[in-house]
């Protein structure tokens, strides 16, 4: 056994001086064509696009659900829907938006962009990446199958016991929700692990921790949080499923259980989750807005630290969802104070973005409009949250439409608007074409006006006492006009979203050609073609600053080291990328990357079969799913020579 079986001096070169390099890389990295490639791809770009498209499909589904029940609420005492229909619609709406749209759309963008932003050829765990997508789409279908069959979840997205217990909810609605969420949790967890490992191990040489784009900080933070938070909700749903199906007594007060145990477990996950679904979006703004201000972000370090601080503090405030439950006032007071103070790191972002515009030069693209307006919507959502942090005020506000206003300002304002901006910003990179700017103006203003007309009045109907989750309301409560305005505004907002989709669909074939760097933007993804080749970069770039493509134009001293984008590690002995150290990103080892594989999709389907057997109480189906999952996992993890996992040379 010679040492050279396990080591190699990596070649440095450039595509220009190596004819045939790009062809070889293309052959090694491209996904097989046809159905085979469709099911077996591990290309992060294809997986990212799938995530985004699927998330948008769920956005539309969740939106249609709300448009239906907004008709029911347009006036008092309407009977367009039965209470059961209404309850399923509002539950599906919340569940879809929060779990099937908001998290996955950001995962999709991050999945597509991270290797390009970080200067790598793929994510650290490409097959895990594929697995997380397949499980996500299977879980979404699992949950919607219940709805389509007439027993969709009906106890609200936070599904409180005892109403979720079998005694009060006898049908399979809650069982589908519980098992579907556990399945989805597997997807989110393994995806989160992938992001953390990629951040720590796959950055381009020279991309030290203080040169990483804020989107990477946002997704890293959210992923680290998910690793610790998701088990709480998966466990809560599993214990509920046991209570409902195996006679256990976790949540049943008559036999030593506790209804509040559900709330604690749920919100210990739920509060970190709501930060996880906005921090990556805030990162997209922190990376995109400066491009349209023609200068780097003001206060990069403070923004990165504030991102992490918000998430860490976010683990310490979950009880603010339980202020009315009669917990001891000492503990409630602590959580009230913490919930108000948590606004401090959020303020860092707001002032950083405004300062970047102030000390920059705005370029009025549609992306800029979305990113700039987000700052106001963020602030409105933030202050309504601040109000609810004050315990005695929350005792009035909680469970009213004021909270509905708050959650929509933070979710639509801090997730949907940045996602729309991100669409305009990165669509050219993904497809090679620009979205139409003129349609973009209509898109933006319709969304902005529709959203505010629809959701601002909810603050008022909340202050006038309108409770949440009511399928109808009486006349003479002072809510009629506000609800009508909300319904109208929500339809205008829906038209706005439709315009975004129309723009995407029509520009996909007919948009203006974008070129490599249409926005004259500084980060690594703009250093490769639009769309990027399957191998992302012909050579692994070396990075010397936060804005490699702006070096030399910001007035730095000539002695400052420069990034090297055209010359670098070739890593062309098969599918390879560079592993680097966690903090300084110094070259560490050559990582061998997996080729297309069916094992992820088979594992996802096996797990779905297992969960289907459980929810339908078909024992043999569940066992079959479990055995298939175990067999597939063994096949997946079988040590492979080409991945450098066994004795002997790995290189081709």
């Amino acid at each position: 056994m010679s040492v050279s079986d396990y080591e190699r001096v990596p070649e440095i070169g450039s595509a220009v001086l190596r004819p045939g390099l790009t062809d070889r890389l293309e052959r090694m990295w491209e996904t097989r064509p046809g159905i085979r490639g469709w099911f077996a791809t591990v290309d992060h770009k294809r997986i990212g696009i799938r995530y985004i498209v699927t998330a948008f499909a769920f956005l539309i589904a969740g939106g249609l659900e709300s448009l239906i029940f907004r008709l029911q609420l347009a006036g008092p005492n309407l009977r367009l829907l039965t209470p059961e229909q209404y309850d399923q619609l509002f539950t599906m709406h919340g569940m879809t938006m929060i779990f099937l749209y908001a998290g996955p759309v950001l995962t999709g963008f991050s999945n597509y962009l991270w290797p390009l932003l970080l200067g790598a050829r793929d994510m650290a765990l490409p097959r895990i990446n594929a697995l997380s997508y397949w499980i996500y789409v299977c879980a979404g279908i699992f949950l919607y199958a219940a709805f389509a069959a007439g027993f969709g979840p009906n106890d609200g997205w936070f599904n409180y016991v005892p109403y979720a217990a079998r005694a009060y909810n006898g049908g399979p609605n809650v069982d589908f929700y519980a098992l579907g969420m556990i399945l989805l949790g597997i997807s989110t967890t393994v995806g989160a692990v992938n992001f953390v490992v990629t951040f720590l191990r796959l950055r381009a040489p020279g991309m030290s921790i203080d040169r990483v784009p804020i989107l990477a900080w946002g997704t890293l933070t959210a992923s680290a949080a998910n690793i610790f938070a998701i088990p709480a909700v998966s466990l809560a749903f599993f214990l509920l499923w046991l209570d409902r199906n195996a006679g256990t007594h976790f949540f049943d007060a008559t036999t030593g259980g506790e209804a509040l145990l559900w709330q604690h477990l749920f919100w210990m996950f739920g509060h970190p989750w709501v930060y996880a679904i906005v921090l990556p979006a805030m990162g997209m703004v922190s990376d995109g807005l400066p491009v349209f201000c023609r200068r780097p972000l003001v206060g990069y370090s403070m923004v990165a630290l504030a991102t992490v601080a918000t998430m860490v503090l976010g683990f310490g405030v979950w009880v603010h969802h339980m202020f009315a439950t009669g917990l001891p006032s000492v503990s409630l007071s602590f959580f009230s104070a913490a919930s108000i103070i948590i606004a401090v790191p959020s303020a860092v972002g707001v002032f950083a973005w405004i300062a970047t515009i102030w000390y920059g030069r705005p370029v009025f693209t549609t992306a800029f409009l979305f990113f700039a307006s987000f700052i106001v919507l963020f602030t409105v959502g933030g202050v309504s949250g601040y109000m609810t942090g004050s315990l005695p005020v929350d005792w009035q506000l909680t469970d009213t439409y004021f909270i509905v206003a708050h959650i929509h300002y933070v979710l639509i304002g801090i997730n949907v608007f940045p996602v729309a901006g991100a669409a305009y910003f990165w669509f050219p990179k993904i497809t090679g074409r620009m979205l139409d700017e003129r349609l973009g103006r209509w898109n933006f203003w319709t969304m902005f006006v529709g959203f505010n007309v629809g959701f601002f009045p909810m603050h008022l109907s909340g202050l006038l006492g309108m409770p949440r989750r009511v399928y109808t309301y009486a006349d003479g409560m002072g809510w009629n006009g506000l609800n009508l305005i909300t319904t109208l505004g929500s339809y205008v907002f829906a038209v706005g979203v439709l315009l975004l989709i129309i723009n995407i669909v029509s520009s996909y074939r007919r948009g203006r050609p974008a070129g490599d760097n249409p926005w004259d933007s500084p980060t690594l993804e703009w250093a490769t073609t639009s769309p990027p080749p399957p191998y992302n970069f012909a050579v692994i770039p070396t990075v010397a600053s936060r804005h490699p493509l702006w070096e030399g134009r910001l007035g730095e001293p000539d002695t400052q080291q420069r990034s090297s984008l055209k010359a670098g590690f070739l890593l062309d002995h098969g599918r390879e990328t560079l592993g680097t150290t966690a903090l300084e990103a110094e070259p560490d080892l050559i990582l061998k990357m997996p080729a297309d594989s069916y094992t992820p999709v088979i594992l996802a389907m096996s797990l779905t079969i297992l969960f289907t057997g459980l929810v339908l109480h078909i024992g043999w189906l569940a066992v079959a799913g479990a055995l298939a999952a175990a067999a597939d996992t063994i096949a997946w993890t079988w040590p492979e020579r080409s991945l450098g996992q066994t004795a002997g040379a790995a290189d081709a």
Partner: protein, 201 residues
Amino acid sequence: MPEHVATPGPMAVGAIGTRASGWWAMIFMIFTEAALFGYLLFSYFYLAAQPHMPDTFPQGGSPSLRLALPNTGILLLSSAAVAWAQFGIERDRPVQLALGLGFGAVLGMLFLGIQVFEWWGQPFTLSSSSYGSLYFTVTGFHMAHVLAGVIILWALCAWSLLGLFNRVRYAHIHIGALYWHFVDAVWLAVFFTFYVTPRLS
């Protein structure tokens, strides 16, 4: 370009020890599973802190150590066996590797068998009270992790016998051993919670 990039020396290739992506992935999977057990034990302590009729939490008084204590020793021994196996491959002794893994797996199966026997003898059931629900669910979760670990150890043993690993490339062993030691550590926390804390008050 920085010098070490412009003229690099020889670099390792592939999944090497703690620099393998899979090893890092296992570390974070352990974090998430540790969090899961954290929430399970939180549920135990939360329900324990509620008012209960005498002798209902734990139901039938503190659970007996007669089987659980020796069983803990068996699990600790299995971890030692797996560690011994890993020492083996680090010194290019594939026989020691295979033996250690097999022995660890057998001890793991013994642990499972004894625990099933212990379950069978408990005076309470899954549905008799919140305590019974907690006992079987928490130890059940742990048993599921042990079962997965036993399968992993047998797979590693088989791969070892096929001669797939050597002292440079044995990331799978390292990752599997890490998981097995984690399962052992979790048992200590579960054991402490169920078998020791009731005796402390």
